[in-house]
């Protein structure tokens, strides 16, 4: 059987300029941040990002990696706005394809089912259609004749997801309270790269009772990276919570000098182990309390 284990650097070496990347998780929960930091260190550019956006969007914008973002929101939860993303947007630096949250999952679902689009009413009566000329209209072929919005398939060159645990073949589990839309990102993507807290033997990972914690099957998975605390500073329940002070410091660093200092301290490091130590060490991160909303 295939052993799909990789390093973060090996994953990012497989990505190309101009790719469309889907990023799993939701706002400040289960973001594949170790993979994102690897992209920040790479020469990759002109990326299109599709996400339920958290700090990964602002970081990639601050580093000049982003051409376009397809999103319903970008938020740091405890602080509603990501200042790095705001700066990029207010400077008109990126194409902001802002749609309803439900339209994001609808486009991913269409891609996963290999359909050209899926219909919905959502967007009618608002500025969403005017702001996104790439959305279409379609008329019901049935007696109702209703005019609907066509959300085109949001096909991904790659999906980056942070799951709880995986075996070396890509059988994975999401043990946190909400799997979000990671399964749709996975099925919409040509290649799926997982970071996870631990790579464990299959028998230790899944049994008949826990099989439902598996969000999708291993045939979708291209690469598996074991990177404990790889979601930090976002949460990876039940392993650790959100690093609220870290996110606040990141958000306060939304100036060229501030971002340079953040990069030097937390991004431009030799490896993930150095990152964990820069953030206070494994014990401190394991002790981050689980979020209460």
């Amino acid at each position: 059987m295939a052993d799909k284990r990789m390093t973060t650097a090996q994953v990012v070496a497989r990505l190309r300029d101009g790719m469309t990347l889907g990023i799993g998780g939701w706002a400040t929960r289960r973001k594949p941040m170790a993979l994102v930091r690897e992209i920040l260190r790479s020469p990759l550019k002109d990326l299109t990002l599709i996400a339920y956006g958290g700090p990964e969007i602002g970081m990639l914008c601050a580093a000049g990696k982003v051409k376009r973002v397809i999103f319903g929101f970008v938020s740091l939860d405890v602080q509603p706005f990501d200042n790095h993303f705001r700066n990029a947007r207010q400077a008109g630096q990126l194409e902001a394809s802002e749609v309803d949250e439900g339209m994001v999952q609808w486009g991913l679902r269409a891609a996963g089912m290999r359909l050209p689009f899926l219909p919905t009413r959502v967007g009618l009566g608002t500025d969403v259609l005017k702001l996104n000329p790439w959305l279409g209209k379609v008329r019901s072929p049935f007696a109702d004749g209703e005019e609907l919005v066509a959300v085109p398939a949001l096909r991904l060159d790659a999906a980056l997801l942070h799951v709880s645990e995986s075996d070396e073949k890509g059988n994975c589990t999401i043990q946190s309270p909400d799997p979000f839309f990671d399964d749709l990102f996975a099925r919409a993507a040509n290649e799926v790269y997982l970071s996870c807290e631990r790579v464990v033997p299959t028998a230790q990972l899944i049994n008949a009772q826990t099989a439902r914690l598996q969000p999708f099957e291993r045939s979708l998975v291209t690469g598996v990276v074991e990177v404990p605390f790889g979601a930090h500073p976002t949460a990876s329940a039940p392993f650790h919570g959100i690093d609220v002070p870290h996110l606040a410091a990141y958000n306060a660093a939304a100036t060229p000098e501030g971002w340079a200092a953040y990069r030097a301290q937390f991004v431009d490091l030799p490896d993930h182990d150095a990152y964990v130590r820069a953030c206070g060490g494994y014990g401190a991160l394991a002790g981050l309390p689980l979020p209460v909303f």
Binding site: W26, V122, G125, T126, P177
Partner: protein, 270 residues
């Protein structure tokens, strides 16, 4: 209405929580979603008093049989009654059995709301959250509003800068026909309670908060408001409501931070 004599001291935040709770009084068994502190406490109050059938979540991923107190929970154990991950929330809201109480940055005479950006969308003066679920929410289930800063900056003349939600603006309706799911209900502010039951769903003043005049409300609104007859004063919280808010729903008094200076609900007449 309860006489203010029985509850001599309540804050403006508490008055607004009680007024917002009314949004869910006749809803029956729907998911109550209160976005922000006052709407969330209001949903909890509605469930603990006049609408126990309401469903609500812990604001993360589970349905709860009783509202979870806000802030640090101490020994409190969440009373889980089901699972409500975002995927199911999306399925539920397109199906329609939900009533959300939301806090837009701008709202116009049609009830169209903006949480996306102030200024030009391509290069906004101020980039906000994003349209989030507003387009789908307003097409599919009832929505009410809480506006803590009743002013012409919030209630804008003309249309909002980015129309994130569907409102009562026939020019924007597909084929000029009102979407079946469009249903804007209550609008509670720091000055008054309003609804969308005016002519052609115009925003209408329902009651004035204690010490507030109609003129104050109209001057703070960027378009004409409908007024039918003599306006009552917004009902003061009852002792039972105050007790539930203070002891069960918000034991750490987070609501004291909603309005600057935490003003009393009984304002001296200006």
């Amino acid at each position: 209405m309860t006489s203010p004599l029985t509850n001599p001291s309540y804050t403006l935040a508490e008055l607004c929580i009680v007024a917002c709770a009314e949004a869910w009084r006749h809803d029956g068994e729907v998911l109550a979603t209160g976005i922000g502190l006052v709407p969330r406490l209001a949903a909890g109050l509605a469930k603990l008093t006049f609408n126990p059938d309401l469903m609500m979540t812990d604001a993360e991923s589970v349905l709860v049989a009783e509202p979870v107190p806000v802030g640090p929970r101490g020994d409190y154990q969440v009373k889980v009654e089901g699972w409500m991950p975002y995927l199911r929330t999306f399925d539920l809201l397109w199906h329609g059995r939900r009533h959300a109480l939301v806090g837009p940055v701008q709202v116009d005479r049609y009830g169209q709301m903006n949480i996306s950006a102030v200024g030009d969308h391509a290069k906004p003066k101020s980039s906000l959250l994003g349209v989030r679920g507003f387009p789908g929410n307003t097409l599919n289930h009832p929505n009410s509003l809480f506006i803590p800063n009743h002013s012409t900056r919030a209630f804008v003349a003309g249309e909002v800068d980015v129309v994130c939600s569907v409102g009562y603006n026939p020019a924007r309706w597909p084929g000029g026909v009102k979407p079946a799911g469009l249903d804007l209900r209550l609008c509670v502010t720091d000055l008054a309670v309003l609804d969308f039951a005016g002519a052609q769903h115009a925003l209408r003043v329902v009651s004035l908060h204690p010490g507030v005049t109609l003129e104050q409300v109209q001057v703070a609104t960027g378009f004409p408001l409908q007024v039918d007859g003599i306006l009552p004063v917004t009902p003061a919280p009852t002792m039972e409501q105050l007790q539930l808010i203070r002891e069960r729903l918000d034991p750490h008094d987070l609501r004291a931070t909603v309005f600057k200076g935490n003003p009393p609900g009984l304002r001296p007449a200006s």
